[in-house]
């Protein structure tokens, strides 16, 4: 087994722990709340990064899958149902799989702008449904969603008392997701996904079931988004229609693009930084404008994304040659 491919994940764990210790030692635990929320959004972003960057299929509708997860959890664990959060999580994933599958079959036949338009329209439809339907709380959304007890004493819920454990729950999920995606990318399947991006006709001629792989990665990325939605809804105790909004989908696409498209680490880092800044209100009322604008700028000037793997490889080989030179001098 290639252990080296997991080194970045090890570094991620170290950074997560170091950050938590630093924050607690300096008495700034409140920062963990936004980092926990950002982690759940990061689940959407890293899944989308594999769909967009590796398989080359855009989706401007992934907020819809996040909302499908969140709203399913909210409806099923409150009001008349009051199901166990585990059960509602399973239902949310199942519903997401079915919807992503049914939507994906027709729209993934489209390419480029047409696929972008179709996914955007899907996002708009889901947004109007949650906004206009009584069970989804219309404009108010759903509140008083209970915590999600994963293990006795370990509950996904807001509030100062459980801040640290929730930070670790969220980052455990992100790390798990990242490891699964690393495995996927470095496999025969990951290579097949990239070949679709590289030349769909040649991929098909070489025996890759391109339609099947596109659908599978679309569904997987939708499930990642939905799981993020389920957990964030339990964490914040509610969900509103803005989570399904088109501007949320635009934000996810913008972040993947800034992160370098085919680069889950770039997407993760940019996802955390930008969502964190946004949640802490740094962009003020210009929040949506900010994300819309970066998307326009990237599409104009860096259609392959900013933090591309090539850029990173260049940096890495530069670092390596510097190290070699320093060693040589001794």
């Amino acid at each position: 087994m290639n252990i080296r491919q997991y080194i970045p994940a090890g570094i991620l764990v170290a950074v997560v722990v170091a950050f938590q210790l630093a924050v607690v030692l300096t008495g700034q635990d409140y920062l963990l709340t936004q980092l926990t929320m950002s982690a759940y959004y990061a689940l959407v972003i890293i899944g989308l990064s594999v769909l967009m960057g590796y398989a080359g299929q855009i989706s401007i509708g992934h907020a819809a899958f996040f909302a499908i997860g969140g709203y399913t959890a909210a409806v099923l664990t409150t009001g008349a149902f009051r199901l166990s959060p585990w059960l509602s999580l399973a239902v949310a994933v199942a519903i997401t799989v079915v919807i992503a599958f049914l939507i994906g079959i027709p729209i993934l036949k489209l390419k480029g702008h047409y696929l972008a338009m179709a996914t955007l329209s899907f996002g708009v439809i889901v947004y109007r449904i949650v906004l206009g339907t009584g069970v989804f709380g219309e404009a108010d959304g759903i509140s008083d969603v209970p915590g999600f007890t994963l293990l006795p004493g370990l509950t996904v819920t807001g509030g100062a008392a459980s801040r640290v454990e929730n930070y670790y729950i969220a980052w455990f999920l992100v790390t798990l997701a990242i490891i699964l995606l690393i495995n996927l990318i470095n496999s025969r399947v990951g290579r097949a996904l990239r070949s679709i991006h590289g030349s769909e006709e040649a991929a098909n001629a070489m025996g890759v079931n391109t339609a099947g792989y596109k659908l599978a990665i679309f569904v997987l990325s939708a499930v990642f988004a939905a799981v993020g939605g389920v957990f964030l809804t339990h964490y914040t105790g509610g969900i509103g229609p803005s989570e399904a909004g088109v501007m949320k989908s635009v934000r996810y696409v913008a972040i993947v693009a800034v992160g370098g498209m085919a680069n889950i680490w770039g997407a993760l880092v940019m996802g955390i930084v930008l969502n964190y800044l946004s949640l802490r209100g740094y962009f003020g009322t210009y929040d949506d404008i900010f994300f819309g604008a970066i998307l326009i700028i990237i599409m104009l000037f860096y259609p392959d994304g900013i933090l591309q793997r090539k850029t990173l490889d260049d940096l890495r080989s530069l670092a390596r040659s510097l190290v070699a030179r320093i060693r040589g001098r001794r």
Binding site: M1, N2, L180, N183, L184, N186, S187, R188, V189, G190, R191, A192, R194, S195, H197, G198, S199, E201, A202, A203, N204, A205, M206, G207, V208, N209, T210, A216, L220, A262
Partner: protein, 252 residues
């Protein structure tokens, strides 16, 4: 029953009959050429065989099994590999990765096994890499393994496309103008490669405009003109054929 055959194959684009009632059979382990002037329908014929176009009528058979209703990826799994007239390598992938993709039909790790990186998955991945490196080595381009495939010189891209097709271990290899755009030295190299491929037991169906190459390596030649097969035979027979001479003289 022949190893491979097309039977009364036709395909039109609007009013244009690109392939018209074409039939021929290919013997196993032979090199079978398809020649004809520009626009004769040769590439269309390959697209029909490989499944990227559907025929309007007619049949395509490999060992008697009909292929004409299968999607391209299933045809590839039956052991038919191809190269493209205008070389289609995978962008954003290295030479080695391009060839490793050729092993797709000879490996099996699915979505779930890939996500979990199960032991058989990474063992399979290791053997895919080894086998692909061997193929690069045989074709003399091992030094290019880590190069970005689409930034190579055209002649090298052709060899990489060959390597990728060979990696599938095909029983029938479709080559669409493998010598186009190559210099004399590279053309010789390709000719040697094709002879070598046949020696390994692979049947070759080749489209080519380079007549000396074709007459040199082919066992059998079919000639297309305006979508129709106008002649068929050995290189010597084709060189004497009046219709063929007329078509080629008429063209120039």
């Amino acid at each position: 029953m022949s190893f491979f055959a097309v039977e009364n194959l036709s395909r039109a684009f609007g009013g244009l009959q690109a392939v018209s009632d074409v039939s021929f059979a290919v013997r196993e382990h032979s090199i079978h050429a398809v020649i004809g002037p520009n626009g004769a329908g040769k590439t269309t014929l390959f697209n029909l065989i490989a499944g990227s176009l559907a025929p309007d009528s007619g049949a395509i058979r490999l060992n008697g099994d009909p292929l004409q209703s299968l999607p391209p990826y299933k045809i590839a799994r039956k052991g038919i590999a191809r190269t493209f007239q205008n070389v289609k390598l995978f962008r954003h992938m290295s030479v080695l990765e391009n060839v490793m993709l050729g092993r797709h039909v000879r490996s099996r790790a699915g979505f779930g096994a890939a996500l979990l990186n199960l032991p058989h998955t990474w063992r399979e991945e290791r053997s895919i890499r080894q086998r692909s490196l061997e193929i690069l080595d045989t074709l003399g381009i091992a030094d290019l393994a880590d190069a970005d495939a689409v930034s190579l010189a055209f002649g090298k891209q052709r060899i990489v496309e060959f390597a990728r097709a060979l990696a599938t271990e095909p029983t029938l290899l479709l080559l669409d103008e493998p010598a186009a755009g190559l210099n004399m030295h590279e053309t010789d190299e390709i000719a040697r490669l094709i002879a070598d491929i046949r020696a390994r037991g692979i049947t070759v169906l080749i489209i080519e405009h380079d007549m000396s190459l074709i007459m040199d390596i082919s066992d059998h030649i079919a000639v297309l003109s305006s979508g129709k097969k106008i002649a068929e035979g050995t290189p010597a027979e084709i060189q004497r054929n009046r219709d063929v001479i007329a078509v080629y003289l008429g063209e120039d």
